[in-house]
């Protein structure tokens, strides 16, 4: 039995016999085999070999399936991009709105505080500019702002202007409702004595009694009511 010189075609003959080639390749090999005695013989041999394939032994499929292990679900790591989109991902502008709200609160808060503290120092039509930052008080009690970049300074041109009168009224209103935790001068001698007596009686052990609290006393600008 001779052997074909075309190694590529010989490589493809088993696929040709089992018809696993694409239609184009199948036709190409077929054309070659039609004109090649060696390939005709080899093709016949391969077909005979395939015909000699033993029949599949009878198998009990149900028995095999019953012996299979049950699937145990395992935790699988899901890449973040494949996971369900998070709330943050669904609302990409939420952070921007949050930052805007924080700036707004800071601006309004700073403006309110500075209006209260400055009183008449704000000039009509100009008012002030506030900075995003912690305002500090100078020795005169005036509100100052931490120097910031110009872009961080927000002019309140369109907001209601603070006037000395309105600032004063705001300050008065605030003082009427302000509360103070007080200091020693807020207490009478009798009050202080009572507190000292209680301290003398205190044995330092933990107690279920409520902790003595400092009374909250409404105050005016100059003292208790």
């Amino acid at each position: 039995m001779t052997e074909c010189d075309n190694a590529e075609i010989r490589d493809l003959l088993p696929d040709f016999v089992s018809e696993t080639l694409s239609s184009v390749e199948q036709r190409r090999v077929e054309e070659h085999v039609a004109s090649c005695i060696a390939c005709v013989d080899e093709t016949a041999l391969l077909r005979a070999m395939r015909a000699a394939t033993p029949a599949a032994p009878s198998l009990d499929i149900a028995r095999i399936v019953n012996a299979l292990p049950q699937h145990q679900p395992t935790l699988r790591i899901i890449p973040r991009e494949r996971a369900a989109p998070s709330v943050r991902a669904r609302r990409p502008l939420a952070g921007v709105w949050r930052a805007a709200a924080a700036i707004g609160v800071a601006v309004i808060g700073s403006w309110s505080v500075s209006s209260y503290l400055l009183g008449g120092s704000a000039q009509p039509g100009e008012v002030t500019s506030v900075a995003v930052g912690a305002p500090a008080r100078d020795s005169l009690g005036a509100s100052t702002v931490t120097p910031v970049a110009a872009s961080e300074t927000i002019a309140l041109a369109d907001t209601p202007r603070a006037t000395p009168a309105s600032a004063a009224s705001t300050r008065t209103g605030a003082s009427e409702s302000a509360l103070s935790l007080g200091d020693l001068s807020d207490y009478s001698d009798d009050d202080l004595q009572r507190m000292l007596d209680r301290l003398d009686k205190w044995d330092g052990a933990t107690s279920t009694e409520p902790v003595p609290t400092v009374p909250i006393i409404p105050v005016t600008e100059r003292g208790t009511l």
């Binding site: 391969l46 394939t53 198998l59």
Partner: protein, 184 residues
């Protein structure tokens, strides 16, 4: 079967595996039904005689135990053939250790293959099987996978843990040996 059909078969296997992973036991039955006959034939080709069903069952048990780690780089059938082959080799080795069977070397593998004679009736088939029986174990495995199972050299290399080039050389050497035997 053209390449598109083979890809379709692979897609169907992937879908069945996914269904089984989701808890559908009917998918397991479908997978076994699809591949058990070919595995049975392959086991016979590897020289398994009495306990073909045990080999097939053990192959599926091993496969399903590791199915979560199965990558679809190769076809499911190629993977099953790989498992079956390793299983048969392991069984031969354990049998050899027990002294019942010393068939590990090529010569003994060939004699075990003679059991195929009972499965074929006509003289031509016996001659073909006689020719195969004279091949080395590796040649016979490559030849069987290439001719009877229609596997590509790449798939054969995966199953035998070898290279495509080596698979091709084994196939052509086997073909020459078969022709020489039949010409005598």
């Amino acid at each position: 079967m053209i390449e598109a059909e083979r890809e379709g078969e692979a897609s169907l296997d992937r879908a069945l595996i996914e269904r089984w992973r989701d808890g559908d036991q009917r998918a397991a039955t479908a997978i076994v039904e699809r591949h058990a006959p070919a595995l049975g034939r392959y086991a016979v080709r590897l020289g398994v005689t009495d306990d073909v069903e045990d080999v097939v069952q053990e192959t599926f048990i091993r496969a399903f135990s590791a199915l979560d780690g199965f990558r679809s780089d190769s076809s499911l059938r190629t993977w099953l053939f790989t498992i079956a082959r390793r299983l048969v080799i392991d069984r031969r080795r354990s049998a050899a250790r027990r002294g019942r069977d010393v068939e590990v070397e090529d010569e003994h593998a060939a004699s075990g293959y003679d059991a195929l004679d009972a499965l074929v009736a006509d003289e031509m088939s016996q001659r073909m099987n006689g020719a195969l029986a004279r091949l080395s174990r590796m040649q016979r495995e490559v030849f069987t996978l290439r001719v009877h199972e229609g596997r590509s050299y790449k798939e054969i290399a995966e199953i035998l843990d070898s290279s495509e080039g080596a698979a091709r050389v084994h196939y052509h050497n086997a073909m020459r040996a078969v022709k020489e035997f039949l010409d005598d």
